[in-house]
């Protein structure tokens, strides 16, 4: 490979597949950017330190339910005294926003520090595929532990394992209402007086299709994947009884075991037909068998391949790239290391122009890596990303954040990108003597991607703050 071409590919690797370069990263990539990327898929990876200190899934789940029980008590007390109800929304923010900001700061710290940025990008990608969101109060505390316990362990493992872990995580069960999914002919539907201890949320009243529908539409087959409403209904019946073990919560005995288990009394008995196949298994085996087959459905391979190619390469990816990724997904039955390797070794992934617009979260992470002297600040990230419309793990729908440029290049969005570039440049300016030092940093982190015009503009800026603002605002920093 020509030296210039090699440098260009190194710059592309850090932007397209990484999180943007840290100072010096381009040099460590060396002669073979593809090897740098694929090596990140095979190495053993410990849980990054900032994440080790975050609460467990059980702690996160209990934090909300404990809070909810307290709210109920406070509301009943107020009602007895004839006082106005306490401000639940205010209390929710007071308790859970600081918690969220700690997790957000840890996530950005990991993104800024990691020497496996492609792997980290994949974590974010799969978190955006299996979405749970703090926008629903019932899952306000759960997304960080969901990402750590569901996504991270399987990011270079098997898609099926991630799908299973997701479908059995209390975050997903609560976010998509499977806690309220009751078989119409289940023991409890036939005998409503048969009370169980329930979480302090609405008790189940009947079939709830949310989880079944979203697994088909958003996690596996895709909306055009060829399933019918009858498949959704049958699959919802299959998933009845996938619920949270409530008893340990209320006894203060939570022991760290799987929180989701099979609730026989809520389960719809009997075989179900999904996508033309009859599933007659008992218990959770029935649902696991459906998930097993969904992973091997050609529509799932195509849906996942399209999303991957769209996220990493282009809003409208080359059909040949999607075909190849779908083929690898099918042949390996969803081996995510193999699919990810196919992505970074495909010719189309290196020839496409770097035109993807970084979403606000990606933009701020790239800045965190380019200017690592600035430590992430959870409260500031929270405020800025909320105003920019992409508060991480706070998506407004189970489809997650959109992944095409048109959604992020509106007037408000571009103006705020510029305003942010100015503020962040101002904060980071104390680490630079003059505009010349900023040119050196831009050369370091953008490499061959730095356009000569941008380089000249940075060099001519009035001072380091202005120079940094231009670097962050430049098309090559806004895109990847």
């Amino acid at each position: 490979m020509e030296p210039t071409n090699r440098k260009r590919q190194a710059a592309l690797a850090t932007r397209r597949f990484g999180l943007g370069a840290r100072p010096g990263e381009m040099r460590t990539i060396g002669a073979d950017p593809r090897a740098w990327l694929t090596s990140q898929l095979v190495a053993e990876h410990e849980l990054p330190k900032p994440l080790q200190e975050l609460p467990s899934t059980g702690d996160d789940a209990w934090a909300f339910f404990g809070w909810l029980l307290d709210q109920g008590r406070a509301a009943r007390r107020a009602r007895r005294r004839g006082e106005p109800a306490p401000d639940a929304r205010g209390s929710l923010e007071e308790v859970f926003h600081p918690r969220y900001e700690r997790a957000l700061q840890a996530r950005f710290q990991v993104a800024a520090d990691t020497d496996a940025p492609f792997r980290e990008r994949l974590v974010h990608f799969w978190s955006g595929h299996f979405v749970i969101s703090s926008a629903r109060p019932v899952t306000v505390a759960l997304p960080p532990s969901f990402e750590r316990d569901v996504v991270r362990p399987h990011v270079t493992g098997r898609f099926e394992d991630m799908l299973l872990a997701s479908s059995k995580h209390p975050g997903m069960i609560l976010y998509l209402d499977n806690e309220r999914n009751l078989g119409p002919r289940s023991q409890r539907a036939r005998n409503p007086r048969k009370r169980l201890i329930e979480l302090p949320i609405d008790a189940p009243t009947g079939l709830n299709e949310n989880l079944a529908r979203e697994i088909l539409e958003l996690h596996t087959l895709g909306v055009d994947g060829g399933y019918t409403q009858a498949d959704v209904t049958s699959f919802a019946k299959v998933l009845t009884g996938w619920r949270i073990r409530v008893r340990p919560f209320f006894r203060g005995l939570y022991d760290g075991a799987d929180l989701v288990q099979f609730d026989e009394e809520a389960h719809e008995p009997g075989p179900q037909e999904v996508l033309g196949k009859v599933y007659a298994q008992q218990g959770m085996d029935q649902g696991e068998a459906v998930l097993h087959d969904l992973v091997r459905h050609p529509a799932t391979a195509r849906f996942v391949a399209t999303k991957l190619a769209r996220h990493f390469v282009a809003d409208v990816p080359a059909p040949s790239l999607v075909d190849r990724l779908a083929l690898v997904f099918r042949e390996t039955e969803g081996d995510l290391a193999a699919v990810s390797a196919a992505l970074v070794t495909s010719e189309e992934a290196w020839t496409a122009e770097a035109r993807k617009l970084r979403r606000p979260e990606e933009l701020l992470m790239a800045a965190g890596r380019a200017l690592p002297e600035q430590a992430p600040d959870g409260a500031m990230l929270h405020r800025t990303l909320r105003e920019m419309g992409q508060l991480p793990q706070w998506a407004s729908s189970p489809a997650g954040f959109p992944d095409i440029e048109g959604e992020w290049s509106g007037g408000d969005a571009v103006w705020k990108r510029l305003a942010w570039a100015q503020e962040h440049g101002g904060r980071a300016a104390k680490d630079f003597h003059d505009a010349g030092a900023v040119v050196a940093r831009a050369d370091d982190v953008l490499g061959e991607a730095l356009h000569p015009d941008t380089r000249v503009a940075i060099a001519r800026a009035g001072g380091p703050a202005e120079a940094l603002a231009l670097m962050l605002a430049s098309p090559e920093f806004q895109r990847r």
Binding site: A75, R79, P84, A85, D87, A88, R89, D177, D202, E209, N210, E217, V223, L357, R383, T384, R386, E387, M388, G389, Q390, S397, P398, A399, E405, G406, E407, W408, S409, G410, G411, D412, A413, V414, W415, K416, L418, A419, W420, A421, Q422, E423, H451, D453, T454, A457, A461, G462, E466, A469, L470, A473, S474, P475, Q478, R479
Partner: protein, 406 residues
């Protein structure tokens, strides 16, 4: 039966099309919004869509106090009676209006508010996700359409321009090339040097250049951002955003359509409590409408505001003093251009045998007919477009006539 497009609307359409052809290009670059009918005449309509998220209890906002089953059906939920302190105001023999909606009451008295009751989306399940998607997409199947009905409607007449008072474009406005978004920013506005520098760099990036031009236009019209901006616009409160919407709509070069949203209507528990969730949400809605009325000033007379939610709620109280997800509810059409002072309704009744699935207010009107009526008679969108690209699968739905002063 297909209705004829009213003569006035057809005339407006023609004039607007002409203006777009002639004057549009020259003014396009100044504001970021394409210029269209800028004459400020009554033919220059404004439209505001207010989306209430969570499922407003239509029977809490517009109680059917004249229904013979009212008291029994709503046992435990009824507050003070008509005529009591804090009680609802009578609208007609059947309906009253909740006391917290004071500005709605005043508009009703001035015949600038029409209530549409027992209305629902073409959706009979009870998921917020699905129903809110249909509320914005205008489709018949959740998540089947990638854009929104209002975006598609504007796209038939791009001269209108639109703004969503949110950081990202709301689904309902997607599909329009002229729609943009605005929300308060606590970031310091970019300085002149950075703006000029970025404009120069964006010469090789037309999308960022266009975004910056639109963003600058928005900031010129409404606010420049900065540490005090959030406070200036009520900390992004609903009334604050309503006043920002009014600033956009009343500006000569501003958009003609605005979208606002307000959450907090998912009243599963203790909904009758003062200072409870529903209480605060209704007061915020009322304050926002009052602000919109006050700040729209001279263009109020050309304005129609549609207030809609994803679904109504169960008629009876649930086990925790609230109501659960239901089906039909109430929508509001208000503004200076509205032929109001009435409740449009084919009342299904609250008796035990009259409820949908034994629990919800039975829908007797498709919410899309309300939007279609406003789009046709106020915004001059053709019925062909309404039944075609704007609301696919709506052939059997007739626009609700007579909502707008003719």
């Amino acid at each position: 039966m297909r209705r004829e497009v009213p003569k006035d609307s057809a005339a407006t359409l023609t004039r607007r099309s002409l203006l777009r052809g002639v004057g549009g290009l020259a003014a396009l670059h100044l504001a970021g919004w394409p210029a269209a009918a800028r004459a400020g005449s009554v033919g220059d309509p404004r439209l505001v869509l207010v989306i209430l998220r969570g499922g407003l209890d239509g029977l809490a906002a517009v109680p059917a106090v004249g229904d013979p089953h009212w008291s029994s059906a709503r046992a435990g939920l009824e507050g003070p009676g008509v005529g009591d302190t804090g009680g609802p105001t009578r609208l007609d023999a059947l309906f009253a209006l909740d006391a917290r909606l004071g500005s709605f009451r005043d508009l009703y008295a001035r015949e600038q508010l029409t209530v549409v009751h027992a209305v629902s989306l073409p959706y009979r399940e009870r998921s917020h996700f699905d129903a809110q998607n249909l509320l914005e997409s205008g489709g018949t199947r959740p998540f089947a359409l990638p854009h929104g009905w209002l975006g598609r409607a504007i796209q038939t007449q791009p001269g209108h321009g639109a703004v969503g008072l949110q950081p990202v474009l709301p689904l309902v406005l997607r599909g329009s090339e002229t729609a943009t978004s605005w929300s308060p920013s606590s970031l310091t506005p970019p300085g002149r040097e950075l703006l000029e520098g970025a404009e120069a760099l964006y010469r090789r990036d037309p999308a960022l250049a266009a975004g910056l031009r639109q963003g600058q236009a928005g900031r010129r019209i409404v606010s420049r951002g900065g540490k005090r901006e959030a406070a200036a616009w009520g900390g992004a409160s609903f009334p604050g955003l309503a006043s920002a919407a009014a600033a956009f709509l009343s500006h000569a070069d501003g958009p003609r359509v605005a979208v606002l949203e307000l959450g907090g209507f998912d009243s599963h528990s203790l909904q009758a409590l003062p200072n409870g969730g529903l209480d605060r949400a209704l007061r915020e809605l009322d304050a926002g409408i009052a602000t919109l009325h006050a700040t729209l000033g001279g263009v109020w007379g050309q304005t129609v505001v549609v207030v809609a939610t994803e679904f109504g709620r169960t008629v009876a109280m649930n086990g925790s003093g609230g109501t659960d997800h239901g089906t039909a509810g109430a929508a509001f059409v208000l503004g200076g251009a509205v032929a109001g002072g009435r409740v449009v309704c084919d009342w299904p009744g609250l008796g035990p045998g009259q409820l949908h699935e034994g629990r919800d207010l039975r829908p007797t009107r498709d919410l899309r007919s309300v939007w279609m009526g406003v789009l046709r008679d106020h915004m001059a969108v053709s019925e062909t477009a309404l039944h075609g690209e704007v609301f696919p699968g709506s052939a059997a739905v007739a626009p609700l006539a007579g909502l707008v002063r003719g």
